[in-house]
């Protein structure tokens, strides 16, 4: 990450991801492009962007594009990332809408869609396995990973609740080690860090 890319390069990078990321697993293509090919981020940094994106409203695909674009090229980079990520899908879906309105039936074969979904499952499993292997360490990480999975699949409490409960537990488990400091000083430091 020695030299920052131009806005055009950011735009073209995300336009490519936005145009080829079939199968509903955009995060896999994002990692492939940003971490492996462009080397703009390492896996830990990429996971940080994904974690922020997950926590906020908005899709992961566009949120990562905005955050990565901002780090690489400021507001222009973020805007270029968002626009480029959305443009191919917008054209695809608008054309699909025109076809649908004319023919009344789904023009795209259901069978092909099922093949795509199956393959996307394999792609996402591989991607998250790679990210997890490079960024997760220790018993706490394993515990919060399993709790988050269970919250979604077993307890079925939904993403916001799982995020709030398991996220708060995890942040508390990794809390800063400054036991004797007064809260007032902490606020001071926080305000200072904003300046």
């Amino acid at each position: 990450m020695s030299k920052k890319p131009s806005i055009l390069e950011i735009f073209l990078t995300f336009l490519t991801i936005g145009a080829i990321s079939f199968g509903g697993g955009v995060v896999a293509y994002l990692r492939d492009a940003l971490v492996r090919r462009k080397r703009w981020f390492d896996d830990v940094e990429f996971l940080e962007l994904t974690a922020i994106s997950n926590t906020l409203p908005g899709l992961n695909a566009t949120n990562v594009a905005i955050l990565a674009g901002d780090r690489m090229g400021g507001f222009g980079g973020a805007a270029a990332g968002l626009l480029a990520m959305c443009l191919p899908a917008f054209v695809f879906m608008t054309v699909a809408g025109m076809l649908y309105a004319h023919h009344g039936t789904r023009p795209l074969a259901n069978a092909a869609l099922r093949g795509v979904a199956a393959s996307a499952t394999g792609l996402l499993a591989a991607t998250w396995y790679k990210i997890g292997k490079k960024s997760l360490r220790g018993v706490y990480d394993a515990l919060f990973l399993v709790l988050a999975i269970l919250g979604i699949t077993y307890f079925k409490v939904g993403v916001p609740v799982t995020l709030l409960v398991v996220g708060a537990l995890a942040i508390f488990a990794y809390r800063p080690h400054v036991p004797k400091e007064k809260p007032a000083e902490e606020t001071d430091e926080w305000i200072k860090s904003l300046q």
């Binding site: 936005g18 996971l47 566009t62 917008f90 394999g122 942040i171 990794y174």
Partner: protein
């Protein structure tokens, strides 16, 4: 055309429900589009949603198709802008604040804590997605071949996805 303000309102509202992924907003989207505004029938919404899964990029761009069906190209543009711009600005602002908090001790805690949770949420979503997607031997084979290929080779994953679409077209009808 008179539906444009409603389109903007509905999709801007729905976009703020997509915490952790687009699927989170689907139940409320169904209520708004089918029951409240009668823009599409239940079946039509499922068709449009499935088409969104075929699209590259953010699959919730299916909102543009809904806009297109309700009010033409202007409807598509308004639906997409309403869905992606407000949350985009929020993400940008939070990202900036996050970068400024470099010396805040809790920042490291949040980062370390949310890392495994983010992976867990994604894997949980993937398990639910996989339960719908893996339905027999052909789909197991497609998922397995893609998994091994992505783990072992550096070939662009889009090729396997498109290949699986072709295989599915012939083998899964």
């Amino acid at each position: 055309m008179d539906q444009i303000p409603a389109i903007i309102r509905v999709f801007a509202f729905l976009s703020f429900l997509t915490i952790g992924g687009g699927m989170a907003a689907f139940p409320e989207m169904k209520v708004q589009i089918v029951q409240v505004h009668h823009w599409l029938t239940d079946d039509q919404l499922v068709h449009v949603y499935s088409t969104g899964q075929m699209s590259p990029g953010p699959n919730m761009m299916m909102v543009a198709e809904v806009g297109q069906l309700v009010a033409g190209l202007v409807g598509a543009i308004c639906a997409a802008l309403a869905f992606f711009v407000p949350t985009g600005l929020l993400t940008f602002a939070v990202g900036r604040i996050w970068n400024k908090l470099a010396n805040w001790p809790w920042r490291t805690s949040i980062q370390k804590g949310l890392g495994p949770v983010a992976i867990g949420l994604a894997v949980g979503g993937l398990i639910i997605f996989g339960k719908g997607a893996i339905t027999g031997w052909v789909t197991i084979a497609l998922a397995f071949v893609t998994f091994v290929a992505v783990m072992r080779t550096k070939i662009n994953p889009a090729l396997f996805i498109l290949g699986a679409g072709v295989v599915g077209f012939f083998a899964l009808r």
